[in-house]
Symmetry: C2
Subunit: 392 residues, 2 copies
C-alpha cells in the first residue's frame, strides 16, 4: 500500500525525471529494472513504468496481483503497452528512452519492435543522472542505513577470537547486519559484477587480484565467486579490512574500517592508513558543489605521490582506477571519482570515498565513508572510529 | 590455478558445447556472463570466452591479472578480440552466437559491431541446453550441495523459539548455511529476478502475491525486495515453509520443507501436504529419460483436480505456472516443468520438483526436492524428513 508521504515523494521524483527528459528531448521513458522500479514506483514489481513527458506515469504490471501504486494497468505482455496508450488516447512518443544498459538485448529488441518509429535514447543514463541527486526522503533513508551500518562494525572487537578465519568473521558480521535489518541484497549497476554482502580481507588475501575494478580483491571461498574472504586464519601482524554493504532501507551506504590482529608493527601500513585519513581530510576541505571530481582525484593522487606510496595505492598486484563512487539504491552510482570522470559535485549527491592501500605481507589499510554533498561542503554519514583498531 | 582434473572436465564441457554448435551451424561463440564463464573456464573473471567450432577456446581476460586457465590473452577492450583472431590466423566466424538473453543491449551492440558480417545466433539458449545435461563432475558438486543443504534443515527444530518471527528463523538458517559453506549468492537466469538466500514463509504471508512467477510470495521486509519473510510472529496453527537455496559449490540444489508451529490442526493443510508427497511419488514412478515434462505436469494437475485442490495449488491469491525447474549453476535452468514446456527428460538432467499449496489462514504446505535423471528413472538428491514437522 502506498502511503501519502511516499506518493508525494514519488511525484517529486517523476518531476525530476521529466525535467531531465525535457532537457534531452525525450517524450517518454520505459523502465523495468529493479532499481528504477523501486525509484519510480516505491517498490519492486514485474512490469514496466511508463513515464510520458506530459501526463501521469502509467504502471504496467504483470505481477503481483493486488498492487496499489498509481495508475495501474495489468498486462501479460509488453506489446499491450501500445494498445493501452492508444486506448487512453495517448500519442506514441517521437523519442522513447529505454534502459539500454540493463535490459538484455532480447528484452530491448522486443520493446523496440513495439515502438519501431520512435527514436531511441538511453534511459539507463538518464535515470543514473537523476538518481545521483538524492531527495530529502532518500537522504533520510541513507542516514538510517548509515547508523545501522556503523552499529555492525561496533561488533568486530567482540566477535574476534584467536585463531578464527576471515570467513568466520564475515559470517558473524553478516548475521549482525541481518539482525539489524540489512536486507542482504547488494545491488550493483551493470550485468557482470557479483558480490555477496561485502568483503572481509585478512593479510595477503587483500592482494589477490579481483575480477572487478576493485582496489581490494580476495580469492573468495570458491572460483564461482572469487571475491573476498578465502579462509585465511587471522594471525598477529595482519590487518583485517571490513568492507560490508549497508543496505538496510533499499538505500546502501558503503563503509570500510581496518583492524589489526594484535599490535600492528608495520610502520608502512600505519603511514598508509594515516594517508588514507589525510586524503579524506582533504576531501572534507575541498569537496563541495561545483568541484569536478577529477580534480579531487588529482589532489589525492598528488598526496600519494608526495608520500611515495603509489605502488600500494588502490591495490598492489592490481590497482583500481577510481577512489570513490556514488551510492544509493545501487553501490556504483554517479559520481565516479576517477582521473577522467566528467562528473561535477552537486548538492545532495551521495558518494563513498575509499582511499585504500595494500601492503604486501601485512594486508589492506585505509578507510571508506559515505558522504552527502551539502550546500557548502560534504557531510560524513557513516561514523565510526577511524584509527586502526587492534584486536586481542 | 587450474587442476588437471578440472582441465579435463572443462575439455569435456567445451566438446559438448561444440557438438551443440555444430548442430546449430554456429562457427564461434562468445560468453561473458558469470554462469557461463564459470561453466567454461572453471571460474568467474572479467572478460570473454571465445569458443571456435574447431580449435581451442581462447580466454580474453580484462581482470584479474595472473589468471591461469588455458589460452589466455589479456585485453582492455572487446574490440581487441578481432585483432587477436587476425593475429592468430583464425577466421572471422560466419555465424557467431552471443548471449542475447544476458548481455545488455549496449554490450551486445558493441560486440555485434566488432563482427558486423557474422550472422548472429543466441548463445544464451545454446548454453542453457548444454548445461541442462550435467557431467559426472557437476553431479558430484550437486550431491555435495545437497548434503549440506539438508544439514541446514536439520537445525530448524533446535533454532525454533516461542514468539520468534519468520525473519529471525530465516537469519538463523542463513547463518547455519553460511557456516556450512553456503556461498550466499543465489544465481538466477534473466535480468529481473532478485532474491536473497531463500525464503521462509509463515502463515498467511505465503499468500502475499510475488512479483515473480513463484508459487509462494511473501511481502518481504522492505518494498525494495518484496519476497519472503515479513516479520510475522510464529503462532500455533501456522505452517512455516523453509525454501532456501543450496549454493555450496557454485552448483545449487533447491529444497523445501514444511514445519508447523505446535500441532497442525487443519485437515485441509495436511491433505494438501500429503498430495504434494503423492505427486512426488508419481514423478518417482513416471519420470525417466524420454518423458515429456509437460505430460508429467498434466499427471500432477490431474491428481490435484481429482482431489479438488486446484484453488490452493501453486499459490492461492496468485498461482505459479510451473511445478518444477532445472537447477545447476542457476536456480532456473532447463527443463521447465510447465503445461506447454517443450522439454523432454534426458539422462543427467537435474531438476527441482515443488508441488506446493497455500491454505488461507494456515500457510504454505508441500515439499520440494532436487532430482537427478538417471538411466531408468530419477534419483532424489536432497534427503530429509518429508512429513510436516511440528515445532515446540
Amino acid at each position: 500500500m502506498i502511503t501519502q508521504d511516499l506518493h508525494s515523494q514519488l511525484e517529486l521524483r517523476w518531476a525530476n525525471i521529466k525535467e531531465k527528459m525535457d532537457k534531452k528531448n525525450v517524450n517518454a521513458i520505459i523502465l523495468s529494472s529493479s532499481a528504477n522500479l523501486f525509484y519510480t514506483a516505491g517498490r519492486v514489481f514485474n512490469g514496466y513504468v511508463y513515464i510520458p513527458l506530459s501526463g501521469e506515469p502509467l504502471f504496467f504490471v504483470r505481477r503481483p496481483l493486488g498492487l496499489i501504486v498509481g495508475n495501474i494497468i495489468y498486462i501479460k505482455k509488453p506489446e499491450e503497452i501500445k494498445d493501452q496508450l492508444n486506448r487512453l488516447g495517448l500519442s506514441i512518443p517521437k523519442t522513447l528512452a529505454l534502459e539500454a544498459d540493463t535490459l538484455s538485448y532480447n528484452e530491448y529488441q522486443r520493446i523496440n519492435a513495439i515502438f519501431p518509429d520512435s527514436k531511441k535514447e538511453n534511459a539507463s543514463i538518464l535515470l543514473r543522472e537523476v538518481r545521483s541527486i538524492k531527495t530529502d526522503y532518500e537522504i533520510e533513508k541513507m542516514r538510517e542505513s548509515a547508523v545501522k551500518h556503523a552499529a555492525v562494525y561496533s561488533h568486530v572487537e567482540a566477535v574476534f577470537e584467536e585463531g578464527m578465519t576471515d570467513d568466520e568473521m564475515s559470517i558473524e558480521l553478516e548475521t549482525k547486519a541481518r539482525r539489524l535489518g540489512n536486507l542482504g541484497i547488494f545491488r550493483i549497476f551493470g550485468s557482470s559484477m557479483e558480490i555477496f554482502m561485502g568483503s572481509v580481507l585478512a593479510g595477503d588475501n587483500a592482494d589477490t587480484p579481483s575480477p572487478y575494478d576493485f582496489a581490494m580483491g580476495g580469492e573468495g571461498m570458491d572460483p564461482s565467486l572469487p571475491v573476498g574472504a578465502n579462509g585465511t586464519v587471522l594471525k598477529p601482524g595482519m590487518t583485517l579490512m571490513i568492507d560490508m554493504g549497508g543496505n538496510f532501507t533499499g538505500y546502501m551506504t558503503d563503509m570500510t574500517r581496518t583492524f589489526s590482529v594484535h599490535e600492528l608493527k608495520s610502520k608502512l601500513a600505519k603511514d598508509a592508513h594515516n594517508l588514507s585519513i589525510a586524503i579524506q581530510d582533504m576531501f572534507k576541505k575541498e569537496a563541495k558543489p561545483g568541484v569536478a571530481v577529477k580534480d579531487l582525484y588529482q589532489m589525492a593522487i598528488q598526496m600519494v605521490k608526495d608520500a611515495k606510496m603509489e605502488k600500494y595505492f588502490m591495490g598492489h598486484r592490481q590497482q583500481a582506477s577510481f577512489i570513490g563512487h556514488g551510492v544509493g539504491i545501487e553501490i556504483n552510482e554517479i559520481p565516479v571519482i576517477s582521473p577522467r570522470s566528467p562528473h561535477v559535485l552537486e548538492k545532495n549527491m551521495t558518494f563513498a570515498l575509499e582511499p585504500k592501500f595494500v601492503i604486501p605481507g601485512v594486508g589492506a589499510v585505509g578507510i571508506e565513508n559515505t558522504f552527502l554533498v551539502t550546500e557548502n561542503g560534504i557531510e560524513q554519514m557513516t561514523k565510526f572510529e577511524e584509527k586502526i583498531q587492534e584486536l586481542f
